[in-house]
């Protein structure tokens, strides 16, 4: 159910971009913020989106591609409506993070950076999220869920399924 969406920011968003540009001596510095805005609005950073960002910031397209590919949080392909990030780094690993990752992967039938056929979920094995005191943890979209276990992760997935 991929809507064909026109790639364009609203007047309001363009104003925000101007404001962000004014925070730096060089407007190139606004690129990360604008890529975040683009990802939020268009879902992921397709070539068309990156070209549009390049045009808005008056930067070479190759530069935008380069920056977008450097950071792991910019999506290079469409991800699920609910993007599940499971930390398996050391503090989480010590408390079962890897088992949680395997469980979610099996349950949803998808691997690292893949999404379910219905487009509802995607999965990512992530490095330390800076929440080690709450290990093991997952993040779903922008929210952290700490001190979880397999039962709780199942509940989370069901609750998101029921939301639609």
């Amino acid at each position: 159910m991929e809507d064909i969406q026109e790639i364009r920011f609203s007047e309001e968003e363009l104003k925000e971009i101007e404001m962000v540009k004014s925070r730096y001596p060089s407007s190139k510095s606004a690129i990360m913020h604008v890529l975040w805005m683009a990802q939020k609005k268009f879902g992921w950073l397709s070539n068309d989106v990156k070209e549009y960002v390049a045009k808005i910031l008056d930067l070479p397209e190759s530069h935008v591609h380069g920056v977008a590919s450097f950071y792991t949080m910019y999506f290079k392909k469409p991800m699920g409506k609910y993007h599940i990030q499971v930390c398996t780094n050391i503090s989480c690993m010590l408390r079962g993070g890897e088992e949680i990752y395997e469980h979610v992967s099996e349950k949803l039938g998808i691997g690292h950076n893949q999404r379910t056929e219905d487009g509802l979920f995607s999965l990512e094995e992530v490095e330390c999220m800076g929440a080690c005191g709450g290990a093991p943890m997952v993040a779903i979209n922008e929210d952290f869920y700490e001190n979880i276990d397999i039962v709780k992760v199942d509940e989370l997935i069901s609750s998101f399924r029921n939301k639609i």
Binding site: R23, Y24, I31, L35, F70, Y71, G130, C132
Partner: protein
Amino acid sequence: MFENTTKLLLHDIENLHEIDVYIKNGGYEAFKKALKMTPDEVINEVKTSGLRGRGGACFPTGLKWTFMPKGKEKPKFLAVNGDESEPGSFKDRQIFEFNPHQLIEGILISGYAMGIDAAYIYIRGEYHKWIRLMQKALDDAYESGFIGKRMKEVFGTDYSIEIYIHKGAGAYICGEETSLMTSIEGDRGYPRFKPPFPAQRGLWNMPTTVNNVETIATVPAIIAIGGENYAKIGAQKHPGTLLFGVSGHINKPGVYELPTGTLLTDIIYNHCEGVLGNKKIKAVIPGGSSMPPLRGDEIDGVKMDEESLKEYGTHIGTGGIIVMNEDTDIVKVTLRIAHFYHHESCGQCTPCREGCGWMEKILKRIVAGEGTIKDLDLLVSVANNIEGNTICALGDAAAWPVRGFVTRFREDFEKYVTQSRVFKAPNIVHGRRNTADTLIEAV
């Protein structure tokens, strides 16, 4: 707010993140006090305090500030490092959530001392929620005229500064200070050689200071109680309070603010109420995943400050303490750490890029039961070849823990390489040769 000198960052005051509550408890008074001093006096106060950076390298903060040129010919910048991506570290997040105004006040004081025009707080992209909380605090401070153009009207000073948040997007390397600056400038976050140091050539080639969030948030406390008093807290050569983030096999994980020099066992057994399931401790990483581990049987008497830890061949790093119980598979832990650094290497320098790849590959082989005793020496030699031979310190950060684990837990590694392998029974001559091609699976 600063009467209790064992808690100078995470005070026991409800809703301190709200600007009104912060002001009511004496917030922004330290900045007013600083304004009555000259910028150099402020720097001297920080020097006297003995404050050392909380971002990992422990560099004396006051000294770092003196590297900044004086005068107003060029714009000057402050980059506040909240990338917080070192595995085992989760302390700066507490400041964003529970005491964001003390960070802002710290930026005002540091900014005044160094003549900073604009400060950028770089916060890792995963911290969406904490970015929102920090932004709210900034908005409130702007609204009150504490930051920006209205500072003259509010504080009666000619000094003014702008403060912005720069949101990261998932890259451990951007916590390294030169990478952080390239990232803010809008390029791929590659580190660059030093010198030139940021104070000479930093953001947009202008003088810049990079300091960790906790470092800057400590500054108001120093001004409030005075550098000399601060220097009396904790360990003499590394004074003050530290935010220790404790995780792993522990009953009460979390962030604890304690004086430097606190006994590691005191943190583990008293503050954190002991090890999960009352097990013995196999290993403790004292300061984030890049620091060499301590063996469980050597932690008695270990004090948590840089100088004391150096005697044990390790460092305070970010203060991220990771506790591992006796059931922990040390070899797998080492592999996980090596995997992380390999994944995060930016690939610019051959020793780091190739070396991290090698370490991971060798460890994978060992975990798969296909390693040999020689692989253990190989790991150490690869680590030695990375150390000191790279543009940035990520290389060292990868080499230290791998070498530390292999040398301090050699018997665990040896079990892996001898357990699943036997010599080809009839061929005694080959059997003595200990090379991979003379070995076969046990079954």
